[in-house]
Amino acid sequence: MNRTAVLLAGVLLTVASSFVGLVVIPDWQLDPLAPVQAPDGTMQPQKPTGSVAEGRAIYSELGCIYCHSQQVRPREFGADQARGWGDRQTHPVDHIYDAPPLLGTMRTGPDLANIGARQPSRSWHHLHLFDPETTSPGSIMPPYRFLYDPVSRDGAGPPETALDLPGEFDDPDYWWVPTDRAEALVDYLLSLDHSYPIDDEL
């Protein structure tokens, strides 16, 4: 064989073998995973549908992932579980319906793998998204006011879904009402609950 052929063979083999090893084999190894039965009888995880699926897409396009992970590490590894971010390590089963999984690599903000269980209040999430300072003074999370519509206060009382902004954040001219996107995003956040037990060890 001449040198070029050796070079070409080496170049192709090294990359092909790692593709098989790190992508194809894991895909094949994890393919048989199926939902598990939770203590309440439901099958978990559930496939995101309707507004939860929409909310997931909004989470993705607003880039929440660049500040928030969705993976709990093992008990002795870091303080994820001690911080109350989850009771067990995240398992591949938790992500069987996720395309792509939103694991994240950054924790400028807390992990959100179980935020639906930790913070089940809809109105809290709306206030927090509208302006994180309302619920978390000193937060550097961006405000998502563009997910809310202003409604002039000229008319009668507040619309049913208007945000109940605390004191100094109250807007004297407008009520602020969640758009469909804001509602879907909160639906998605509330759906994030992987507290069902999984026996299988990694």
Binding site: V11, A16, V23, L33, L62, A82, P92, P100
Partner: protein
């Protein structure tokens, strides 16, 4: 003997012309053949560097002052940040990398580039695709798969476009007029195969859903790690392997070390990607493989470091006057640093602290900026005067460029490494309130914005220099070297120098 030299009536084939002048003419012809397309790649790359820098500053300021430009959805942090990454990766780094790759390959093969129209087509296509992809990130839905956020149609365009680069560089490789293959050529040869394979496969697995669940995450990091390790790194190393001996006018220290360095890099880099998922929800064997491969990376890294250092030894004073060498050596040293740091970060005990923090971001810029970007700056300082037949118009602007970017990245790296490490430590103590960590980080985030402004000043100086070069009509005569004692009249790497790599190499 070159192909062209056989052309009848050509001065290179003319026995009356002395061999040394024949070399000069041959090199001038190769540079001539690169001028249009390579300048196109480099100039548009620098436009993307400027766009990416603006996006970087916006993202950086938003992190400590979240009310900055907060009410426009296209400028929300979660959109600007991927727009920054994708413009600097697929715009600046890849376009500059392609330009440098093509020129180096032509020079080392001693054959002119062909298929200019194809290259212009590829250049235009890439630029349009990156522009459309970036606008899509700012305005429409995208999947937040890190490093692969571009919509499928953008990715497809980039992938197809790259085939053109492959064709042209393999064509020149096939027509090489020396039997011997230089170290730099192995890296460049590998890179033109590796990038399209990685990019196309990863997009298929993830965006076309050919893998599912966690396998998409491993595909994601197989790609994102490899695009650094076997696309940008080989180009950066090829540049260092070419320019250090070239500017010094002395051979590379050891051919055999280069050989070892290349093959161990190809072997181990490929398997290291899962170190991005340590502690994550995947079978333990996968992250263990990533850690082991990362440790093995010490071999290529140390061999490259020894090789470059031994070549430089005794010649460090040349850093005083050669802009090319200054940037390239800065890059080569950063390569050693970032790789040693990376191998350590792949250890479970270290990763436990650093994984989710700004420490990783500091490492990322040590790699993509202090190593790769600086190596590209150095290469551009060398090749543009040769392509355009003019010398850089201002040594002062080059100095501004070097010192602003060098101090900028130093500040960037040290601030975020310190802050990021403490961030990780605090995060691993559940007694520290999360908000206390956020408060602690704010001064460090400010230091990054400040560093970013310094780097921006450097980039603007560089853009002005390039613009003047491009627009300049007359040859400016004197080369822009930094005046220093013992500086030669011309940079050693003038048109009258020896072939780039070692005697030892050639005799091998």
């Amino acid at each position: 003997m070159s192909e062209m030299a056989d052309e009848p009536g050509h001065p290179e084939g003319d026995p009356g012309v002395p061999p040394r002048d024949r070399d000069v003419i041959r090199r001038a012809r190769i540079d001539e053949s690169c001028r249009g397309p390579v300048m196109f790649f480099i100039l548009t790359a620098v436009v993307w560097l400027l766009v990416g820098t603006v996006l970087a500053i916006v993202a950086s300021v938003k992190m400590h002052s979240p009310e900055f430009l907060a009410n426009l959805e296209p400028l929300t942090f979660g959109r600007v940040r991927p727009a920054h990454l994708n413009t600097v990766i697929y715009g600046w780094s890849s376009l500059a990398g392609i330009g440098v790759l093509l020129w180096l390959q032509a020079r080392l093969c001693r054959a002119p580039l062909r298929f200019h129209r194809l290259l212009y087509g590829v250049g235009v296509l890439w630029n349009l695709a990156v522009a459309a992809g970036t606008i899509a990130l700012l305005t429409t839905h995208f999947n937040s798969v890190e490093w692969l956020e571009f919509p499928v149609w953008t990715a497809a365009t980039l992938g197809v476009g790259f085939l053109g680069v492959m064709v042209v560089s393999l064509d020149v490789f096939r027509r090489r007029t020396k039997h011997h293959i230089f170290v730099s050529q192995w890296y460049l040869f590998g890179a033109v195969f590796w990038f399209p394979i990685l990019y196309v496969l990863a997009n298929m697995m993830i965006h076309l859903g050919m893998a599912s669940g966690i396998a998409q995450a491993t595909a994601n990091w197989w790609f994102a790690h490899n695009v650094l390790g076997i696309w940008f790194t080989p180009i950066g190393l090829a540049a260092a392997y070419y320019f250090i001996p070239k500017v010094l006018g002395r051979p590379i220290h050891s051919y055999y070390l280069s050989l070892l360095g290349f093959w161990t890099l190809a072997l181990f880099y490929n398997w290291a990607g899962t170190h991005h998922l340590i502690g994550g929800p995947l079978p333990v064997w996968l992250t263990t493989v990533g850690t082991v491969a990362s440790m093995m990376m010490f071999i290529p890294v140390v061999t490259v470091a020894i090789n470059h250092h031994m070549t430089m030894v005794g010649h460090f004073q040349k850093l005083k006057y050669s802009p090319t060498l200054r940037f390239i050596v800065f890059g080569a040293m950063s390569y050693t640093l970032v790789s040693v740091q990376g191998s350590l970060m792949a250890l479970r005990t270290v990763n436990e602290t650093t994984h989710f923090t700004h420490y990783t971001v500091a490492h990322a810029h040590l790699g993509m900026y202090a190593f790769f970007t600086m190596a590209m700056f150095g290469s551009i300082y060398y090749l543009v005067p040769r392509l355009l037949g003019r010398e850089w118009p201002s040594a002062t602007l080059i100095r501004v460029h070097f010192w602003c970017t060098a101090t900028g990245i130093f500040l960037y790296f040290s601030g975020l490494s310190w802050g990021g490490w403490r961030q990780g430590e605090m995060m691993n103590h559940d007694t520290v309130d999360f908000q206390a960590i956020v408060d602690y980080l704010i001064p460090f985030l400010w230091s990054r914005s400040f560093a970013g402004i310094l780097m921006t000043v450097g980039h603007v100086a560089f853009a002005i220099l390039l613009w003047k070069m491009w627009r300049g009509k007359e040859p400016t005569g004197e080369p822009a070297l930094f005046p220093a004692k013992g500086a030669p009249k011309r940079e050693e790497d003038s048109l009258h120098d020896r072939p780039p790599e070692s005697k030892r190499e050639e005799s091998s």
